[in-house]
Amino acid sequence: MALVLNLLVQIAQMALVLAIAPLFTGYVRKVKAHLLRRQGPPLVQPYRELLRLLRKDVVLANTASWVFRVAPYLIFATTWVAASLIPTFATGLIFSYAADMIAIVALLGSARFMLALAGLDVGTSFGGIGSSREMLIASLAEPAMLMVVFTLSLLAGSTQLSSIAASLQASDVGLRFSLALALIGLTMVAIAENSRIPVDNPATHLELTMVHEAMILEYSGRHLALIEAAASLKLLLYVSVIACVFFPWGIAVSGQGLVAYLGGVGVYVLKLAAAGFLLAVFETATAKMRVFRVPDFLGAALMLGFLAALLLFVTMAG
């Protein structure tokens, strides 16, 4: 019985993240617009865009290879799987044994790999710029992410996401400075990975300032729809990880009953709303950095991760 329940919860989770991701993106855009005293597009605009793109024909360059055609599907698949493994409203997902933080980082890494290849595939210079910048960011963001994971797993004793969440919720953690540093580090990595200001402007149309957008310039039709959906899922994924690890209250433990699950969903939506608001405020208040400053930014995130781990050693040894 528990097995069937977990399976149902897992399926519900997969459907939930897929459904909510475009809504989250639309919400962030709406808040940014209001902060700039504009009306902004309606909340459901991203859904409309996805549907429109799905209906359109694909236009392929002559020089595109099979990599170019296959990449969007792989990117979407890996990102969706990664997003489905994060406990958003309930723990006890059937695949939670696979929800290792390092595995999630690896899934996202393979998605990024495919995207970079696709950007290079067509042979345009903008695609090349985007891919090389993306790899620069990745080479610093991934170690920073792993240092944060290391700190968290030192505290919780495991790299499995559900165990981390459970131990941080249950135990008397107290005022942990390392957690604050890890949170800041993870936020900086999230901003870099999702191509948000101050690392990259998601709404730019100037190719020389693009990182993520430059790699997908050649895509159209259903390919573009899949990639846009994957980008929204990735943003949702990072926000969910932060919410699950650092603000784990309200997540339903398995077997608590339908009311708890619905409550979990409600709390999750509230967390998303708060996170989206903060993200929009931060993006509006900050200016984009020049590309050669991004390594410094991510280097700082890496240092924060290191420092968090070191400080944790001091308290644990003492």
Binding site: L181, L307, L310, V314
Partner: protein, 220 residues
């Protein structure tokens, strides 16, 4: 000792190490002075907390001195000096900021590895205060080595002093003599700094040490 008290002390001491890293990260003069003010603020909060949990009221005086002199007066004076000397521009570094930060992490790890086993018999509070104080000391030294600007070197030295204040308060019960001495050295350092920066200005158009380095020690 009460775990919450220990955690807050850890928060302040770890925060001091973090702000030392922020000092290393700065590349503008005004940002550097403001970050130093933050550094002094964190050290005074840390000392005040130590005064509270060690039941040592004389440490409040040290905290007040650190706050007033180093978090308020010296940054204000430095801001004025920067404007008067016309040196509000970027700080040149000997190696890049990234490598400096990596070296900094190495130094923090080194000081933790050295201090933790040695102070194992003293309490947890002393252990972590001394380990972090040594880290701040080494980071301040790194800053003095890796910057070519006279003002940044002076700020590096003052951050070393902050680390020493943290160490002195962490060693429980150290008599008032040391507190007077550290405060005293702050005041004198201020005088020297002020006098020197003005004197250097009178003879050069820059406080860049590189320009001064025509006269090297091994000169005949």
């Amino acid at each position: 000792m009460d775990p919450l008290a220990l955690d807050v002390a850890h928060l302040f001491a770890g925060g001091l190490v973090l702000v030392s890293f922020m000092l290393l990260y700065q590349d503008r003069m005004t940002g550097l002075v403001n970050t130093f003010a933050l550094h002094a603020l964190v050290v005074s909060l840390s000392v005040a907390w130590q005064a509270h949990i060690q039941h040592a009221p004389h440490l409040y005086i040290t905290a007040a001195i650190a706050l007033i002199v180093k978090a308020i007066i010296i940054p204000l004076a430095l801001h004025r000096i920067i404007v008067q000397l016309g040196i509000h521009r970027t700080i040149e570094t000997v190696v890049g900021i990234g490598q400096t930060m990596l070296a900094g992490i190495g130094l923090v790890a080194l000081s933790i590895m050295v201090m933790l086993p040695i102070t194992a018999k003293a309490g947890t509070l002393t252990q972590q205060d001394l380990a972090f104080a040594l880290a701040v000391l080494l980071l301040g030294l790194l800053m003095m080595i890796s910057r070519r600007n006279a003002v940044s070197q002076v700020i590096g030295f003052m951050s070393i002093e902050n680390g020493l204040i943290l160490a002195a308060t962490g060693a429980k019960g150290m008599p008032l003599v040391v507190e007077i001495s550290v405060a005293f050295s702050i005041l004198i350092a201020l005088i020297v700094i002020g006098v020197f920066l003005f004197r250097i200005r009178e003879s050069f158009d820059t406080v860049d040490i590189h320009a001064l380095h025509e006269y090297r020690g091994e000169q005949p």
